[in-house]
């Protein structure tokens, strides 16, 4: 049985997936990340045809650096990377960021599954995957891949999610390690997993 305590010092990267209700959920989580945190990659489903304002929205709330992922960017600690609208975000060997315009997955580009599956290959048991509120089943297969690779899996407690479909689908598909409220996930990010500069 995995405990939150045993996660300490074991996480080298975090992937987060969310859609409907995601901005509020991330507003509760991301300020918990410190400047020395492990790299965090986020897919938030948004309209594909507009530039995203996520960086402006989150940068002033966070002490970690917030940016929109660019193709081939090297990956740095203390940085939160958002997938750009209309591109899939993947992690490639290096590790570095990779983008693609491949077909939509679960009607979405970016897709949570695409990010989680590629990150699981690179980070293996050092990866923490978190699925939050959302009205899509995107992320369920991705979290299963994180689990198979030996990584840590967290789903937001569906009872506390704005829209419970995404977390429910993930829990149904994978024996997730922890089902937590946003406050609990924030505390995982702050202390247990990747809190202070090491």
């Amino acid at each position: 049985m995995r405990t939150l305590e045993s996660m300490k010092g074991q996480v080298s990267a975090v992937v987060i997936g969310t859609s409907a209700g995601g901005i509020d959920a991330l507003s509760a989580l991301l300020p918990a990340l410190s400047r020395g945190c492990a790299p965090v990659f986020i897919v938030l489903h948004l309209p594909r045809e507009r530039p995203s304002r996520l960086v402006d929205l989150f940068q002033h709330k966070c002490s970690a650096r917030v940016c929109e992922a660019q193709d081939k960017d090297p990956i740095e600690r203390g940085t939160i990377y958002f997938a750009p609208p209309d591109y899939h975000l993947l992690i490639d060997a290096g590790p570095h960021l990779a983008l693609s315009t491949d077909e939509l997955v679960h009607f979405s580009r970016p897709s949570i599954d695409v990010l989680f599956e590629s990150a699981a290959e690179i980070y293996g048991e050092g990866l923490l995957g978190i699925v939050l509120t959302g009205a899509s089943e995107d992320g369920a297969a991705g979290l299963a891949a994180v689990h198979r690779a030996g990584g840590w899996t967290v789903a937001q407690d569906p009872a506390t999610a704005d829209v419970s479909i995404m977390a429910e689908a993930a829990i149904k598909r994978t024996p997730v390690d922890f089902v937590l409220s946003l406050d609990q996930i924030a505390s995982v990010l702050r202390t247990t997993a990747i809190g202070e500069l090491q």
């Binding site: 315009t101 590629s118 690779a149």
Partner: protein, 275 residues
């Protein structure tokens, strides 16, 4: 199956494809390549990439199927309308000063980008003096590009994009709707040359005033990106223009100094005078 085994099999498969069919995917970015090959495995009913390798080496039609997965055409007409608006406002006035024009659409896939440029140039009354070279490595997608026939359900999106690109005409002026499909005007094709060209293995074939290569470089690793950018630099005339995809840039390239970014948000570069 472990990740390590998959990586070994991937390398062997790409070598086999190169040796047998001379398509060079060895310098493609692995993350998206792996995803596509996993779809190909499912489609071909193969459990491993070694099985895929066995099939493609002994059966060219299986290779054609795999090639379809490796070069998935995902594009639309006037994709990123603001790119086309920037071309119209900042590049077309310069192009107008040339008596004849050559434009290279590198990685044209099923042709949407080439037709978009042809329509834009016709609106700007430049198409008649232009040759657009539209190149790709996949013969099947090139055939589709040449046909210029697209599903009707995509036309609304194309029309909206076209409108936002600063259109001077209506997109419906350029196609006829037939049996659920939109057939684009043959006269647009008169000035487009579709041909087989690989950014991985071929060289420069003409001097051009504009290269448009969008969302192609993201599929390449850094070495192959540099090769392609080198070809573009060599193909461009003095002060020629280079258009990249919205999330591509020359930031980390050895050719960064050879270009000046003239429309930063829209990723349009101009070859530096000294380069």
């Amino acid at each position: 199956m472990s990740t390590r085994d998959f990586d070994i099999e991937l390398q062997l498969l790409l070598d086999a494809i190169y040796l047998k069919y001379h398509y060079d995917f060895r310098s493609y970015a692995h993350a998206s390549l792996k995803r596509r090959l996993k779809s190909a495995m499912t489609q071909l009913g193969c459990r491993t990439l070694s099985q895929v390798q066995d099939r493609i080496v002994h059966d060219p039609s299986a290779f054609t199927a795999v090639l379809g997965f490796l070069t998935v055409p995902v594009t639309e007409m006037f994709r990123d309308p603001l790119y086309f608006l920037a071309l119209r406002e900042q590049v077309v006035p310069v192009l107008r000063t040339y008596p004849s024009l050559k434009i290279w659409v590198a990685g044209c896939s099923t042709g949407e980008e080439a037709y978009s440029l042809a329509i834009l140039l016709r609106e700007e009354q430049l198409l008649e003096r232009t040759i657009i070279y539209a190149t790709d490595i996949n013969a099947q997608t090139l055939q589709k590009a040449e046909a210029g026939v697209y599903e009707s359900n995509r036309i609304a999106g194309f029309t909206e994009n076209h409108r936002k690109s600063g259109a001077r005409t209506s997109l419906s002026d350029y196609y006829t709707a037939r049996y659920g499909r939109a057939v684009f005007d043959k006269s647009l094709r008169k000035n487009i040359v579709f041909s087989d060209h690989s950014l991985a293995t071929d060289s420069v074939f003409a001097e051009v005033q504009l290269v448009s290569c969008r969302n192609v470089l993201i599929y390449f690793n850094r070495d192959l990106q540099e090769r392609a950018l080198g070809l573009f630099k060599d193909a461009l005339c003095r002060k020629g223009f280079l258009g990249l995809g919205a999330k591509e840039s020359l930031r980390f390239s050895m050719y960064a100094d050879a270009f000046v970014e003239i429309a930063p948000g829209d990723r349009i570069y101009q070859k530096d005078e000294a380069a």
